[in-house]
């Protein structure tokens, strides 16, 4: 047997390294070129957003259908993430029982990220009393998706110095607005159902229950200093 010279061994090792590197590179290229997770399916990441795309919305029910129905609830950052999808997918979003984004379709042919703009509107509510439309400071306003029971509550707020309170991301629907006063807001002073139909809209609610009526008399006294 002819002994190998040192240079020949080094050459062989070098060739082996090059071949190994080539195979590694080929494997990497093959893996990344492979769609989705490697078997022709992809990720679909939906971020549920309000109408002005300012807020990500959590706790929305996100329904998709890709031959099969899937339902997820958006997380605290608004994400509903799906895997293993391919082809035509339909999406719709429900929030507090109301459809806030009707069904739309998309074709998933690669990993996809979409902001889903929903009919969720910011609304400024002003609370006034019935006799003079004087506004109320410190009134609790609670919005419900049906009757005013705790299970139906969407959001609460307290009117500030201008008698107004702002609600963010209310669903496009007819909602119940109940106004409260007293200890722990235990006294109902008004209750109305109103349609929330556009972003940055303004609603005036009239409190007309459980009031006191203040009557004032103002007199003029004219004095002659002589």
């Amino acid at each position: 047997m002819i002994p190998l010279r040192r240079t020949q061994v080094n050459h062989a090792i070098g060739v082996f390294k090059v071949v190994l590197l080539a195979f590694s590179l080929l494997a990497f290229i093959s893996f990344t070129a492979m769609p989705g997770n490697g078997d022709g399916v992809y990720n679909l990441n939906l971020r549920i957003m309000d109408w002005d795309l300012a807020d990500a919305v959590s706790n929305a029910q996100v329904f998709i259908n890709n031959g099969t129905d899937y339902v997820k609830v958006s997380d605290e950052n608004g994400w509903a993430n799906y895997t293993g999808l391919s082809g035509l997918v339909t999406v719709k979003v429900k929030y507090y029982g109301f459809w806030v984004n009707g069904t739309f379709s998309l074709t998933v042919s690669q990993d996809t990220v979409i902001n889903v703009r929903c009919n969720l509107y910011d609304v400024t509510v002003k609370v006034v009393e019935a006799m003079r439309s004087a506004y109320l400071v410190g009134a609790n306003v609670t919005v419900f998706n049906a009757t005013s029971s705790p299970a139906n509550k969407i959001e609460s707020g307290v009117t500030g110095n201008s008698g107004t309170v702002m609600f963010k991301n209310l669903p496009n629907a007819t909602l119940t607005f109940t106004q409260y006063s007293g200890f722990f807001y235990s006294i109902i002073i008004g209750n109305e159902t109103r349609l929330v139909s556009s972003d940055n809209s303004k609603l005036t609610l009239v409190s007309n229950q459980n009031s006191l009526t203040v009557n004032t008399n103002s007199l003029l006294i004219a004095l002659c200093n002589s």
Binding site: E129, A130, M131, R132, A134, Y135, L136, V137, G138, A139, G163, S181, G182, F183, I187, I189, S207, N208, N210, S211, L212, T213, V214, N215, T216, N217, S218, L219, L220, I221, A222, L223, C224, N225
Partner: protein, 173 residues
């Protein structure tokens, strides 16, 4: 019939005293009548004005609903104050009285104001203080609005009707 001079003198003194007391009482009554007449005289140059029809008034009534624990704010009540004169006038304000449970009204504020001069006078009280304000000088030919804030107590009685009486005193009307 025997007439006692001493007794007659006593009776005479009593009669004169009675007449004096009666005349003093009459004088006091006349004074009060004069003040009353001054109060109800025709609209002075400083008076209330009803915004809806620009009519002058010496009195007005106003009502508003309030709710427990809540502040009700009316930035411009239905009447204001009008200085219908080419010179300034001095006025005084007070809450003259009230008929309300102490738990019904926790705080009362009212402000005399207009957009040009801002707040001219502000009353704030949690005890419904009835003392007169200091002198307030109102500008000539100027109208002022009345801003009222009533905060009901947490235990305010729903259905109650507290009554407040305000007075504005005008010097040299």
């Amino acid at each position: 019939m025997k007439i006692s001079v001493k007794k007659s003198l006593k009776l005479l003194t009593l009669l004169i005293s009675s007449l004096l007391i009666a005349s003093v009482s009459a004088a006091a009554y006349v004074t009060l009548q004069w003040q009353a007449t001054a109060t109800v005289s025709a609209n002075p140059k400083v008076c209330f004005i009803q915004w809806s029809n620009e009519q002058k008034a010496n009195t007005f009534s106003y009502s508003v609903n309030i709710f427990p624990s809540i502040k009700t704010v009316d930035e411009n009540v239905s009447y204001g104050i009008w200085v219908d004169d080419g010179q300034t006038h001095t006025v005084y304000f007070r809450l003259a009285g009230h008929n309300t449970n102490t738990t019904d009204i926790a705080k009362l504020n009212y402000t005399i104001w207009n957009s040009a001069e801002g707040q001219k006078y502000t009353y704030q009280s949690t005890t419904l203080d009835t003392s007169w304000s200091g002198p307030i000088t109102l500008s000539a030919n100027t109208k002022y609005a009345i801003w009222i804030e009533v905060t009901a107590g947490a235990s305010a009685g729903v259905g109650h009707s507290p009554t407040l009486t305000f007075e504005m005193k005008v010097v040299n009307p």
